[in-house]
Assembly symmetry: none
Homo-oligomer: 207 residues x 4
């Protein structure tokens, strides 16, 4: 608790998540290079020196932000397998949730800094992108096998499945801050679902 007059408190356990979320916010707004650690510290309610008690430097802080946040939010998708497969609606639901969360900005951050931080990019490719695509491809293949979907190319169709959802996220955290008319992600998702399911629907056999 600490007395109200205390200049500061020891909060060893609480600091890291607070710092990470402050850092996410500032990185999201400014990008990696333009982010000042002073701002991160201020937003986390500590001083600059304190950041260095928990993270060895700015780059590692950035990596921790990226690594620590997006993966947990997508486990339903990235951990999908034959036993617990994922559906299009699952995917959409998870993206809608992501769009409402601060960590929805991570894809924008990663795309923007990908060439500066190949190590992070690789992590993101391996842990998020590859696994997500794999789950979507499995979903498509199952649909094809079951006759629910046409025989499309699962590999590349997977990109088309995520693209509008990703666009929603990117928009929200970039153009959305400036655009006059907002993009309603729920409507986007519904529209995408409709187009996609029709696009995948088996063609009627000519009589």
């Amino acid at each position: 608790m600490g007395s109200p007059t205390a200049r500061w408190q020891r909060r060893k356990e609480a600091r890291p998540p607070e710092i990470l979320s402050a850092a996410l916010a500032v990185f999201a707004e400014r990008g990696y290079a333009a982010t000042r650690l002073d701002d991160v510290a201020r937003r986390a309610g500590v001083t600059k020196g304190t950041l260095y008690l928990y993270f060895p430097n700015k780059e590692e802080l950035f990596k921790a932000v990226i690594r620590g946040t997006l993966v947990p939010a997508l486990t339903r998708i990235t951990d999908a397998d034959a036993a617990s497969p994922v559906s299009i609606d699952d995917l959409i639901a998870d993206f809608e949730r992501l769009a409402d969360s601060p960590i929805g900005v991570i894809p924008k951050l990663v795309l923007g800094e990908a060439t500066n931080f190949p190590e992070i990019t690789r992590f993101y490719l391996d842990e998020v992108v590859a696994r997500g695509l794999k789950a979507i491809r499995a979903m498509l293949q199952r649909g094809i096998d079951a006759g629910t979907f046409r025989a499309v190319d699962p590999e590349y169709s997977a990109y088309c499945v995520v693209a509008p959802l990703l666009l929603g996220l990117l928009w929200k955290h970039s153009l959305g801050a400036v655009a006059n008319d907002p993009l309603d992600i729920a409507v986007l998702c519904r529209t995408h679902r409709d187009l996609l399911l029709n696009g995948l629907r088996p063609r009627p056999v000519a009589p």
Copy 2:
């Protein structure tokens, strides 16, 4: 050209495009904040001071890069109107061309720096995004009116039309630099076209 004894060449007219394309390349690779004007100058074959003869500062150079490059490449789409409408195949063709050009990196740059440069974002929204979406929506509406397409929501469907194309561009200039297996944009475009046209196809009337 200058005489052989000239210490440097007077190339007042040739400089700006050279500087812009050098700047585009470096901004593309590093992002705005991490780009050093020294690197831009070196790549343009001049020195740092020379940049300031043509652009008042780093920010204006960045703006000039963004403003001067993407719009011309998309005039067929952004200038489409009833007299010269655009088709899905036009759109795809223009994006494929963009993917092969250095300026294909602009969307990534704009998304990454959108919150830092609202003025640019607004420009991009007005000159590229709004006009592009408008052309696509007109295209969809024409199809719906003609009975070629189902009665989808043209406003939000437009996002679904561009999303996979945009994803191709973004991938190429971010994850693509690190990913093991490349993304073939031509295949992506074909797949998207197939899914989209089927998604838009009028449903057969139940007998």
Copy 3:
């Protein structure tokens, strides 16, 4: 000692010497400015905060290290007087002992920081240098009076008496850490003794 459940031991009396010897070791290796109190604390088996229970700040700790250690090791020399005079062999023996002790590094430290810590330098000049030189000069004067030594200038000869011994100490704690072939202080002392005694020997009267 403290009960076995005590979170730490109360060792008020034992701490200062432990801290001083840890500090001596680190100051010796790094010099004053480059020494981190964290390192001193770690080597002393305590934490940084504890240092401040015993010494008000880094500078005072440094002074305590210098003041507390060298003087006791040289009392035979510095306290020499007519009643208990010192011989060249005493001097050499004390320096050889110093060379084997951690406190042999003190002269190097004092020389290196003399201009930063005039107060320490004055202390060292008064308590060590002046008294040591005085004893050596007395020794030389006695030898001259007794006819054992030539009539050299005792004031400046005293520097020549200590110089090689000091060089041995300095070498050991600076160049010696890097040099390939070691400097054998015992041999150095023997050589110096031989040269010095011959240098001081009265010249034979020409027949």
Copy 4:
């Protein structure tokens, strides 16, 4: 020349030596770690940024100071060989000159930072110490061979030859700044010369 109102001048050639001598002065006074580049810059009449135009960082500046200054001052000694041998009086003369020059502080600096900068220490050992000792040993051996000197151990006697001269230098740049009564290096040299030559003189054969 530059107009008197010019905020600064371009003096590409003049800067490095000015910076080096400013750096030598500040390093000499404060030691490496306690030296602030701001102070070096101010003393050199430039700003901190300018230092980085000529030296990549503080450590390299320090190395340049050490490497660039002492060696040239001692070439007569370090380059001595059979063709151009060195005498005791040469040695003394060079040290007296060194004592009057700002670079006489280098030995103190090197000894003080030897453990922090092994690379410099090795340079100094190889280029200054080893070559200097070698020249002195050759000198002693020549004297022994010629019968001018007794058969002393040339290896260790060499240390005894330099030690008082070195002590003079070290004193001047450390204790000398604080001590009340100055050490007269000329007298020290004379006294040392006398003691040394007598110490090396062949003993008279007993009749």
